[in-house]
Amino acid sequence: MARLSNGFLGNASGKIGNVVFARWRNIFTARQYQPDIEDAKTPAQLKQRSRMVALLQFLKPLNKSFIKRFNASLDKNSTPWAVAIKANMKAVSPDACMHLEDLSLGAPSVPAVKMLSAAYNPFINQMLLTYTSGQNYPIPKSMPLVLASVLGKYKSQGDSHAFDTRNLITEQPAGSFFSPFSDGFKYDNYDNFWDVGLLWLSLFEAEKAAAPMNLNDSLAAPVSFIPEPLIEYFNNDYTEDLIPIEAISWEFSDMPGEDVLVFTIDLEKTLITDPEDAAIGMVLVSLNTEKVEYIKPDAWQLVDASFTVTVGDTKALGSFIVLYGVVNKDLEQISRFNRFYVNKNIDGLELPLFQQLFDTGYTHPLSFILPGNTCGFCGSLDELFYDFVSFWERLYHKDDPPPEPPTVYKLSLTLVGPGDVIVEGCEYIDESFYYFNDGESAQLTIQPDDEAHFLKWQGPDAVDVTLKETGVYYLLMSKDRDITAAFELDVPEV
């Protein structure tokens, strides 16, 4: 294809002979005319076409998000979509299959990190990735800015592909990725549970903070992962909801020596027709002050209208997240997993979920999606104030008394007449006073105005002021000092 910079036939459009003129993105082009192909169904052509169809189906859901973000800066003469097509055709197998692990986006220049774990937590609908960079990896050792992009892919339904593109680029702690989840605790929401995923990292340094950042400047090669649910048998394969959470209620009961959570079921609110052929498998996680504990799974035969879980005499002071599924008497799963939050403790005290998750350290608070029109902040004291902690721990030792602040003396300086004094060596200035550490010297440089001269030092401490060189004096700050610098106008010569 030829490009016409000025259009030798003007802004030509159409066909002359076997040459076709066209305009593409404000570029005038000419190419050879390709007549319709009579038989485009040779086995090789069909195969190639099915590969292209498979690639388009795979990439289309990513076009406006990941493809645009990663490929936008790669080729100024092409579109992000065209770059993606070109880069990924080789990833499509001869039988027209494409796997997420083979997806190529952007231009990574840093080696991939090593994935340590990819754990899905169904209690809070969170994917937690942990990775290590290994030696000689260019993650800045102090103050790293790590931007993570995570593309999750749900289980394929036939030829269609569904992706989770919400984590296009997020700030994350070095070494981890926490997918966000909301406080509403919608019981049927497991949208962070992916079949497979890809993680990209971008690393930036403090010195480049002022300039706009290019994602591809320090992009690491992607690393794929397959999530492992925290609960071994957890799945989201079932959509049918035979026992909705509205059918289950709970209350605490204190028995001698131990507290229990009592669950009851209203079968009329369920789709269970034969209670003898159904049981609820239930797992609890206890969030209590600074501790998280899992309570072992147990089965609730639905011929019993209530079910008791012993929680001991301390866990009941906290809250619980309950996860349950439904099985038949052959222990085959027959309904979806649901979960709910026991938001009050045995004393009736309400314990908001996010505060409980934070207090117990169950997950990183940056992953919280707060309700309504609210926002918040979080962080680590050790990360932000490491230098303060070191400073303080150096300041005094175990057997020493608590540190005393250094003794500071105040210099009061008054100016009389046309001139100024520059004071150096002070620790800090407060209004018109200068403060010095004990034993330091104040350096006083006199600066008379034009046609004026310095007369003398006055005040109670004037006698201690010593001359260093012309116009420069010293005053030892061994106590609070009060001095006055006197200036006067020169006497005009007669």
Binding site: S142, I169, E393
Partner: protein
């Protein structure tokens, strides 16, 4: 050889103030030395004051534009926000005791604060603020969406 004494994390505080100097609330802390605060209004300005045993450590100026977001404040988040300003006078007055204690102990400026100042001064050479005094405390902008600056 004497053993170094550990810092007492229970003496850390993170207080949230309104721009008029009125105290709003304390952030929560957990056993892993994390802090967390919720129920703030997107787009509104808040001042975060970090202190230890009533000694001022650093101040931040927090403004988050995204509803639902919990902004993660860590060293490079502050640096990449690239904002330095002075505390409003009324808040300065409210923190006077904390500031004087900071000056007495000669608490060092955190490295990320220095880096933020360096970057900010490079862009704003007329901005005059380089030393802690009772009448001048720098605070660093946080909460902005850094990812919006990524092309």
């Amino acid at each position: 050889m004497s053993t170094q004494n550990k810092i007492d994390y229970s003496l850390f505080k993170c207080e949230v103030y309104n721009p008029d100097g009125s105290f709003l609330k304390d952030a929560r802390f957990n056993a892993y030395h994390y802090f967390y605060c919720e129920n703030l209004v997107p787009g509104s300005l808040y001042f975060l004051v970090f202190s230890y045993d009533d000694i001022l450590i650093e101040c931040m100026q927090f403004r988050c534009q995204q509803a639902g977001k919990v902004a993660y404040l860590y060293p490079l988040h502050v640096v990449f926000n690239n904002e330095v300003s002075n505390l409003p006078p009324r808040l300065l007055e409210a923190l006077r005791t904390k500031i004087e204690k900071r000056l007495k102990y000669d608490v060092p400026v955190m490295p990320w604060a220095k880096q933020t100042m360096l970057n900010y001064f490079a862009e704003n050479p007329n901005y005059m603020c380089n030393k802690y005094t009772v009448s001048k405390i720098s605070c660093y902008g946080v909460g902005g969406d850094i990812t919006s600056r990524v092309r």
